[in-house]
């Protein structure tokens, strides 16, 4: 079974500042990793994914994440945030075998202010 820990429940930042949202996972098998964003009263939108290959993955809206197998981490970063990035961010993990569920972390609320 897999599990995900998002280390910060809330991250307040000022506009144009860099941000890192931390995510650690636990699994006894190989995994796929994802970051999703949820804007208020909306569904979840995929930001980026790691399936294999390069450990640095780039996603939409200027976000990127780095897969670190030794530290079992998949932290999300953005060099300069905008007000519009204010949302809930979810890290998720699944095993690579078909039929395994996508398990979500508890989410991190990113609040960007001017």
């Amino acid at each position: 079974a897999q599990s995900v820990t998002q280390l910060d429940s809330q991250v307040p930042v000022f506009e144009e500042a860099p941000v890192e949202l931390r995510c650690n996972y636990s699994s006894s098998v190989s995994v796929y990793l994802f970051w999703y964003v949820q804007y208020p009263n909306q569904g979840l939108q995929l930001l980026l994914k790691y399936l294999s290959g390069s450990t640095l993955v780039k996603g939409i809206n200027g976000f990127e994440a780095e897969f670190n197998k030794s530290q079992t981490s998949f932290h999300l970063r953005k060099p300069s945030v905008h007000i519009s990035d204010t949302a809930e961010y979810f890290c998720a993990v699944s095993g690579v075998q078909a039929g395994t569920a996508l398990i979500f972390g508890k989410g991190t609320t990113l609040s960007v202010s001017s």
């Binding site: 796929y32 994802f34 999703y36 949820q38 909306q42 569904g43 979840l44 939108q45 995929l46 994914k49 399936l51 809930e88 979810f90 690579v96 078909a98 039929g99 569920a101 996508l102 398990i103 979500f104 508890k106 989410g107």
Partner: protein, 111 residues
Amino acid sequence: DTAVSQTPKYLVTQMGNDKSIKCEQNLGHDTMYWYKQDSKKFLKIMFSYNNKELIINETVPNRFSPKSPDKAHLNLHINSLELGDSAVYFCASSLQRTPLHFGNGTRLTVT
């Protein structure tokens, strides 16, 4: 041209009632899911169907019964609704190991 659509968007009902939420996807995906998001925004998998076959069934009360008439549809029926069932229910779909596409959710309020 919505990819994963759920109906209704809002559902307000009283304890003890039976209700259904419908989900349809037009992406050609072969796997569909139901997730529950509680008041603390925690997302938990409930069910997953692959080609109409149940493949994931988490510890969900028997009052919840999914039904998949075909690959493009996965409905959720809930019997004898309880206050604790109040949540946002998300339908999602995927093709093999591709990322999940989510619907916009159904906000269920049980009074």
